[in-house]
Homo-oligomer: 206 residues x 3
Amino acid sequence: MLISIYLIAITAEAMSGALAAGRRNMDMFGVALIAFVTALGGGTVRDMLLGNYPINWTQHPGYIYITVSAGLFTMVIARYMRRLHQLFLVLDSLGLIAFTIIGCEVALKLDYEIPVVIMAGLITGIFGGILRDILCNRTPQVLRHELYASVSLVVALLYLYMQHKHVHHDTSLLAAFSVGLALRMSAIRWRWSLPVFSYDPARWDD
Amino acid sequence: MLISIYLIAITAEAMSGALAAGRRNMDMFGVALIAFVTALGGGTVRDMLLGNYPINWTQHPGYIYITVSAGLFTMVIARYMRRLHQLFLVLDSLGLIAFTIIGCEVALKLDYEIPVVIMAGLITGIFGGILRDILCNRTPQVLRHELYASVSLVVALLYLYMQHKHVHHDTSLLAAFSVGLALRMSAIRWRWSLPVFSYDPARWDD
Amino acid sequence: MLISIYLIAITAEAMSGALAAGRRNMDMFGVALIAFVTALGGGTVRDMLLGNYPINWTQHPGYIYITVSAGLFTMVIARYMRRLHQLFLVLDSLGLIAFTIIGCEVALKLDYEIPVVIMAGLITGIFGGILRDILCNRTPQVLRHELYASVSLVVALLYLYMQHKHVHHDTSLLAAFSVGLALRMSAIRWRWSLPVFSYDPARWDD
């Protein structure tokens, strides 16, 4: 199940990368590259930080084709994205949750300590979007908007707690996806957000 | 031959990095660092992605001197860059082609599959320029302008096809450089470009 | 001694990351993440470049807690930062010097050649701040302002020279910290800076 959701996840992330590239008027090549980086960048950064070589996508060239195709396909269907907006948000959230769990599992298998495992989950979940925004020269949205990164953190903590309590793996997955999706959708629906830190050195200092 | 062209390539890339730093009014140190990153960053990212340690330039400290010197030297001759513009474009294109071929060769030697080999060529070719633009806080030019990244892709495909067909190595190099240079120069001359994806969420959606 | 200064250093760097995040109105999560990246990013990039796995902070989860806490704590005391400004600059300089020396030591232990050792010191010293500025979508300040990166270079050269001359380790540290701090404070006090390269292609060329 996690594999099918992973494939949906990289497709959704690739599409979000393509849309961001389109806002910067990039050419087809830029769209394809940013789709690829958005979808696979989080896992790549995780593998590089954990020394987990060879890096995942280099062993599954199919992922390159999927993300590049999803990016280029987004150019064609961009005009219908408004109608698909709700669906897109759900897929994107499923992606965030799947990435987070996979990131935790990779770090667990490598015997890292729990705080590092949580960081690995978070990084897998959110760094694709951060790299997308860096490449598109904008401040990373996941660090500013709604409960995006926080959902990743909650999912990681919940999943690890259930693993620790030896809850059956499928049950853990189901619980993590349910809670994560409910939290994310509620945050979007009712505009929940974390406290924002606004630091204006002109008002206070430098 | 590839080595001499590589040295020309890192010099040209270092100079392009220095010019970009100059547009951001950086100090000597910033100029030197961005020259270094622009010239050697593509190969560094490739080596980190492929797990190809030790990273190339750490075994050839001379490359540090060359790129830093080229960057600082560019500060001195900046006022003559207009007259050298055509020459500079040729050197930059030679660099792109050389980087691409070297990137493919490194990944081939490590037995990666063909799609990964092509990605390695592309990344070596274009990521120096992408890192340069990220450090200078601008949207990566190679993802927007003319056939830059596409030249890298064509060169990678052509070179790998000829390797596959057991064409003599020197012949492959000559063909890859000729086709790549002709394509890049034509693209600049006649302003060829790939289709651009302009996504305006205000017009369609978000 | 280096360890205690290191802990002060990552705290000061985390706080500078949090302040930069506050200028971009990031939420608590963004503040915590950027604090973490600013404090530990330089060492992380160094370890990835040198192939020095496992990466330092993954073996010391306490560093994650320290930097995240320092970041969040900064949100609380932001209004008093003006009064703490001088102290903050001293801590930040101590951090720069400590990071530089530690970076050199790591590369020395791995038997890299001297130019690479110097690069490792510089990268450890300044890349946290560069990553902070990339994540906050601004041109890296360390490449533009005062003698920041240059202090790192002077400290690296001085420290390596003394190591080469078999000066006692404590004496080397004391000298490196004294010279580095004096240089940095003087640069701030009298606004010393390196020559700036301003390249305006409209005036000259492109």
